[in-house]
């Protein structure tokens, strides 16, 4: 396998494959920067162009694009508080507050650097796990996948710091909203009121844009202040890299979690960033700044969402099971080029598989470097008068929302969710839990239904289920313990300060 990898590397540099990777990266850069568009849209745009291409060229183009959307979508997440795509939802929580403090370049520098490292770890994971993936894949059933969805949902409490009950209700609201449309088990319509648009469920991009983009843009207008609150920029891309290097263990840990969860099909890339963010916040001793502009809140999700690309490719290539929407379109592209996925990817098509691994690694390096070059000039966007910037952004957000299903329902839903999001923002209701609930609703329902119909109640005794259940308990217990010790430290600090004041 190592010999095949060396030959593939030589081919990548010797032929025109590099050019296709760079073209894919450039397309991915634009797709990522436009909020609401993600890898699926980018893949769909490129599909018509791969007709008649050599498989290695077409794959380089598609992988180059897919790898980099997870990096460039950080621009809108950090600068505007709008999730660039499903993969960068959690980055908003700390990235945007950093931009408001004038530290956009630092946040972007850290995000792009860890994206590159995460992407490389994902590529190594893909290479290393190719041989060992089959038995692991077979051990995963619907009960384990349901438990993983619950693991994602358990992050709701963490994301609702200081407003636990409101956060949980917000998460449940997302779950209920996600249940609108056809029931996964029977296809019966729920709460569609005869609107065909709602039958497929409410599109994710519309909910994300409505919940974050519209309220943030309205807030900018009402405050009438630049995104960088104090009208100044601090830090640079390199300061971001330096900050990131202080958290090496977090980068590696988040990347590995991202790659492993990405490897599990069905849970979806949308929840990886929430899980890694939650774990980072839950296991850090001094976690009181999470959600207020803590660099670790940017590092954890950004490292994971790039690493997951390596993981999602394993079931796609070996079993023809797409791990995410992007890999589903990639699978279509491979079939269009006559590539038969399956065990042959490790035998007759091994050189092609290795080309994919190298394309992924190279695209991450090229893309992250390009993003770092662009970061400082683009972060000046935070200094523009909001009344001149926001109308453009409203137009982009409206156009992007319409791409979800190209139906007028997208715009009506955008306005409706936007109004709810704005009310929640004004009244201090946590919004991220709602998005987590929405993302996980259908998968949680589907896997619970499958588990109950296949195993009855016996599914709860499966070792994988017990393992994930223990993990959930461990995370919650760690969070409670760390919160309690933080409060204890704060109380101790208060009692030591008071006598000093009295003496003065």
């Amino acid at each position: 396998m190592i010999e095949a990898a060396a030959i593939a590397l030589g081919n990548v540099f010797a032929s025109d494959i590099m050019i296709y990777i760079v073209v894919g990266v450039l397309v991915g850069l634009v797709v990522g920067i436009l909020p609401g568009l993600g890898g699926v849209v980018g893949m769909s745009l490129l599909l018509p162009f791969i007709f008649g291409m050599e498989p290695a060229q077409g794959i380089a183009l598609l992988i180059g694009m897919a790898a980099i959307t997870q990096t460039s979508d950080t621009f809108p997440s950090v600068l505007l508080g709008i999730p660039g795509s499903a993969a960068s939802q959690a980055t908003v929580l700390d990235g945007y507050p950093m931009a408001r403090q004038g530290k956009a370049a630092t946040a972007l520098g850290a995000a792009f650097f860890v994206s590159m490292v995460g992407g490389l770890i994902g590529a190594v994971f893909l290479f290393a796990a190719l041989g060992a993936a089959t038995p692991l894949m077979r051990s995963l059933g619907s009960p384990e996948l349901f438990m993983l969805a619950l693991l994602g949902l358990s992050m709701v409490g963490i994301l609702a710091r200081g407003a636990a009950l409101a956060g949980i209700i917000s998460g449940f609201f997302g779950l209920v909203l996600g249940a609108v449309g056809a029931a996964p088990a029977t296809g019966q319509a729920r709460l569609t009121h005869g609107f065909f648009y709602l039958y497929d469920g409410i599109p994710f991009a519309v909910v994300a844009l409505g919940l974050f983009a519209i309220p943030e843009l309205l807030e900018l207008l009402t405050e009438n202040r630049q995104i960088a609150k104090f009208g100044k920029l601090h830090g640079s891309v390199f300061s971001g890299v330096r900050e990131a290097l202080k958290h090496k263990a977090l980068i590696v840990r988040s990347a590995l979690i991202g790659a492993v969860i990405g490897f599990i099909p069905g849970v979806g890339g949308s929840v990886i960033d929430w899980i890694t963010y939650g774990i980072a916040a839950q296991t850090s001793r001094d976690n009181e700044n999470f959600g207020k502009g803590d660099i670790r809140g940017v590092i954890a999700p950004e490292s994971a969402n790039n690493a997951k690309e390596g993981g999602t490719l394993i079931p796609t290539l070996l079993f023809g099971i797409p791990g995410s929407g992007t890999t589903a379109v990639l699978l279509g592209g491979l079939l269009m080029m006559g590539v038969q996925v399956g065990p042959s990817m490790l035998t007759t098509n091994l050189s092609l598989t290795m080309t994919i691994v190298w394309s992924l690694a190279i695209a991450n390096v090229v893309g992250a470097t390009l993003c770092m070059v662009l970061a400082e000039p683009v972060s000046r966007l935070t200094l523009i008068d909001p009344k001149r910037l926001v109308p453009f952004l409203l137009i982009i957000v409206t156009a992007a929302a319409y791409q979800s299903s190209r139906n007028w329902g997208d715009l009506v839903t955008l306005v409706g969710v936007g109004a709810i999001g704005y009310a929640m923002k004004r009244l201090d209701w946590p919004r991220p839990p709602m998005l987590v609930g929405f993302v996980l609703s259908i998968s949680a329902e589907r896997y619970l239904h499958l588990s109950r119909s296949r195993y009855g109640l016996d599914w709860i005794y499966r070792p994988g289920v017990r393992f994930v259940f223990l993990l959930i308990c461990l995370l919650i217990a760690t969070g409670i313990y760390l919160d309690a010790s933080r409060q204890k430290r704060q109380r101790a600090a208060t009692t030591t300060v008071v006598p000093v004041r009295e003496e003065q």
């Binding site: 209700i169 449940f172 209920v176 709460l191 207008l221 009344k387 453009f392 949680a444």
Partner: protein, 185 residues
């Protein structure tokens, strides 16, 4: 958080609770497999929302009581007897710096809320314009009107913005095959 904000919070929570109740009712006739999961989560959510409403009512009454206490303290601290009737008759008369800041903050929150609603209405107008004219016409019109009336931009700036919009529109519809909303009728 001020008492008036808690009032709006209660309204939002009641809206959530109503939605959960309606959802439970609307799926009641579906097959068991279709309604089990959503009904279960909506039921839990409804119970939690009711608890939240109770907590918010308690918070509101606590805040109202503390605001009344502060008013009494201000009345008591008013030095001259001539000031007393004035303070008692008006909640806006102030006796100290802290209440001034507090009331200014409340007024600011209320006015920024009103501004937010105005901008929301402006955005709704944009969506209505798309419904009437289609995106291709409505977007530059909205951009120009917004820049002239809200941002008070100069005509040269508006022209530059429109050129930028045209370039972006051309690029997205030609190279990215983006479909933009047509007229709604």
């Amino acid at each position: 958080m001020a008492a008036f904000q808690v009032k709006y919070r209660i309204l939002l929570t009641v809206a959530f609770a109503s939605f959960f109740a309606y959802f439970i009712w609307s799926v009641r006739n579906l097959q068991y497999a279709s309604r089990f999961f959503p009904q279960l989560i909506a039921l839990i959510a409804l119970v939690l929302a009711v608890v939240q409403i109770g907590l918010e009512f308690r918070q509101r009454s606590t805040l109202a009581a503390s605001e009344a206490l502060r008013t009494d303290q201000r009345l008591a601290s008013a030095t001259s007897s001539a000031e007393r009737p004035k303070l008692a008759g008006s909640t806006h008369s102030l006796a100290g710096a802290a209440p001034v800041i507090e009331e200014a903050a409340t007024a600011d929150i209320q006015s920024s809320g009103r501004r937010g609603l105005q901008f929301m209405a402006l955005y709704l107008g944009f969506i209505g314009l798309i419904w009437l004219l289609g995106f291709a016409v409505a977007a530059p019109l909205f951009l120009a009107v917004f820049l002239v009336l809200v941002a008070r931009s100069r005509w040269s700036g508006v022209a530059l913005a429109l050129v930028g919009y045209a370039a972006g529109y051309f690029a997205l519809t030609t190279f990215a095959d983006m479909v933009l909303p047509p007229r709604g009728y």
